[in-house]
């Protein structure tokens, strides 16, 4: 193992311990780690944006020796307009790129979500209920009924009263079970991340783990 690799492991271990030390209380080491983190991460993204976006998507495309593109120039114009934010006088120009970003987001998401989240999921619920074992049938009916009641909960133009209110109530139960399942999985994920750090600290750095 070379010097830089060894040094890197020690440094990473120091940062790991520094962040974990926050659990005891806020301290100087943690504050230093946090400041380095903010600086390094801002720098990291700055560099990545520069090379992956400005260099690749603009510079390389317009200077391509075979067939240079013209359209990235328009993107750069919009980007420069964004920087007018820095001035109070012409800052309103930055609304143009903003309007572009918002319009593109709205247009793309509208279609994408409508198709994948609405249409395909509705199609997914259209299954023969009475197929398979008794357990399958119950499961099919529960999925259909749960989706149905869940949608009722989201109805805005009708008061949740009577049978409608009852269905909405069942809908919220399904939603709560969904949240519980998400909660369980989230706990799992967080624990896995800590396991990863422990493996680094005690395995790779201290070499205690077999």
């Amino acid at each position: 193992m070379g010097f830089w690799e060894q040094f890197g492991i020690w440094l990473a271990a120091l940062f790991t311990i520094g962040i974990i030390s926050f659990l005891y209380k806020d301290n100087v080491l943690y504050k230093a780690c946090e400041a380095i983190f903010v600086g390094v991460s801002a720098g990291y993204w700055f560099v990545v944006y520069y090379w992956d976006m400005l260099y690749k998507k603009f510079y390389q495309q317009v200077t391509d020796p075979v067939n240079p593109e013209w359209y990235p120039w328009l993107g750069v114009i919009l980007g420069v307009l964004m920087l007018t934010r820095l001035s109070n006088k012409i800052g309103w120009l930055s609304r143009w790129p903003l309007a572009f970003v918002v319009g593109a987001t709205a247009g793309l998401y509208m279609m994408v979500y409508f198709v994948s989240n609405a249409i395909v999921q509705i199609q997914g619920t259209i299954v023969p209920l009475a197929e398979g074992t008794a357990g399958d049938i119950i499961a099919n009916i529960l999925v259909a009924a749960g989706t149905f009641c869940g949608l009722i909960y989201f109805f805005f133009s009708k008061e949740h009263r009577g049978a409608f209110g009852g269905a909405a109530k069942i809908g919220i139960w399904f939603l709560m079970i969904t949240f519980g399942a998400s909660f369980g999985y989230t706990v799992m994920s967080r624990m896995s991340l800590m396991i990863g750090r422990i493996d680094f600290l005690f395995g790779r750095w201290l070499e205690l783990i077999p």
């Binding site: 801002a42 918002v102 259209i126 209920l129 989230t186």
Partner: protein, 406 residues
């Protein structure tokens, strides 16, 4: 030994050369002159214009040569334009599939083409029959997506329709959304206690619709705040969100007739980095002890930290996000939670503007269509599959095709 091998190789090379040279003659011999076994040619060549494109693409598919599993070198694709000669356009490596496909995107729109596939193995090359002639056509509209267009028109049409109905002055009923009902009270409490209101618009940029929803809610909230002469505090993690939020609040104060009470630092940028941001917000919460915390927008892992800290300082907390993974933490730790669609409905609801409320009604039509389709479709499919009741066959087919995406 070596001599034998090279002789064998030269035979193959000569044989290959011979077959390529006579490619036009469609002569398919199974055994060539030196006893090498030629591979059996691929069959069932299907050539079709690529649907719903600009006309520059033709799809080719063929069944593998029966010798494919025994080891071949690959397939050559030949193309002839009009009555012209066949030329090699591509070589496809064997992949062990039952049938192969190739997309030829180098054709001219409006021209007709024929194709031929050959298989190459150590025994030589043998050719398939020539395919029928196909023209590269273009279609204006992607008819595969007709059903999506129809459904889209129904949903968007009803949203727009109700917006106009509402604009014409018809009163629309919208049920109470408890989290939003509590909003005014929460602002009032903060005013009484003389403490600020904390508004967190999620950690994503303006290119997320949840952030957009949060900003539209901010417009209403800051109006209430301006009316009550309360104070709002809004740390953000994106520079775009910062500038947008500033404009939004400024306008609300203007509308409330109190432009003098507005100042830029109500909204301040912290950092793009998720946890750096959360650490800063935590600090603000513990130091300034806001009476009311609003978390509306796209949240990730920070939801738990925020909600826990808010609980600890005893603030009224109202949260809303469309990210199911974070909802449990908000539901467990906040006083009110806007779930999914409710977040998008919030701005319309709070505005009380009939146009906006009309769009909520339109959304309900969409839900109604979804629920009706689910019931009708499920029943039809169940009846057809369980009792082989053919009469409903058309209905189940219709429902399937209506909600299919390919």
């Amino acid at each position: 030994m070596i001599f034998g091998k090279s002789l064998y190789c030269s035979f193959i090379i000569i044989a290959c050369f011979f077959t390529v040279a006579t490619a036009q003659n469609e002569a398919v011999a199974t055994v060539d002159s030196v006893g090498q076994i030629l591979p059996q040619p691929p069959g069932n060549i299907i050539v079709a214009d690529h649907k719903y494109d600009n006309g520059g693409i033709i799809d080719i598919a063929w069944d593998r040569s029966p010798d494919d599993p025994l080891g071949i070198d690959g397939y050559n694709i030949y193309r002839a334009c009009g009555d012209g000669d066949f030329e090699i356009v591509a070589f496809v490596l064997p992949g062990g599939m039952e049938s192969y496909s190739f997309i030829d995107d180098k054709v001219e729109r409006g021209e007709s083409y024929r194709y031929k596939i050959s298989v190459i193995s150590s025994g030589g090359e043998s050719f398939s029959e020539s395919s029928v002639s196909v023209r590269g056509d273009w279609e204006f509209f992607d008819l595969d997506k007709l059903n999506i267009l129809i459904l889209g028109i129904i949903v968007c049409g009803s949203v727009i329709g109700f917006i106009f109905t509402a604009r014409a002055g018809r009163k629309l009923f919208i049920r109470k959304i408890s989290g939003l009902e509590a909003l005014e009270e929460a602002v009032g409490r903060a005013t009484e206690m003389g403490r600020p209101i904390l508004f967190i618009p999620g950690i994503l940029d303006m290119d997320d619709v949840q952030t957009l929803a949060a900003i539209t809610i901010l417009a209403r909230v800051s109006r209430i705040v301006a009316d009550y002469d309360s104070k709002i505090e809004m740390p953000v993690s994106r520079s775009l969100v910062m500038t947008t939020a500033r404009e939004t609040i400024k306008n609300s104060y203007l509308a409330a007739g109190r432009p003098d009470a507005y100042y830029d630092d109500m909204v301040h940028y912290v950092t793009d980095e998720q946890f750096g941001y959360v650490a800063a917000v935590n600090g603000i919460m513990v130091r300034d002890k806001p009476a009311t915390c609003l978390y509306l927008g796209a949240f990730f892992a920070e939801s738990l930290i925020l909600a826990e800290t808010g609980n600890y300082i005893g603030a009224i907390q109202i949260a809303g996000t469309a990210r199911p993974g974070q909802l449990p933490f908000f539901v467990a730790a906040c006083d009110y939670t806007l779930i999914g669609e409710e977040l998008f409905a919030a701005s319309a609801y709070l505005s009380g503007d009939p146009k906006q409320l009309g769009s909520l009604k339109g959304q309900d039509v969409g839900k109604f269509v979804a629920m009706a389709a689910m019931i009708i479709g499920t029943l039809a499919v169940t009846v057809v599959s369980a009792w082989q009741f053919k009469f409903f066959g058309w209905l189940s087919d219709l429902m399937y095709s209506m909600f299919s995406t390919n």
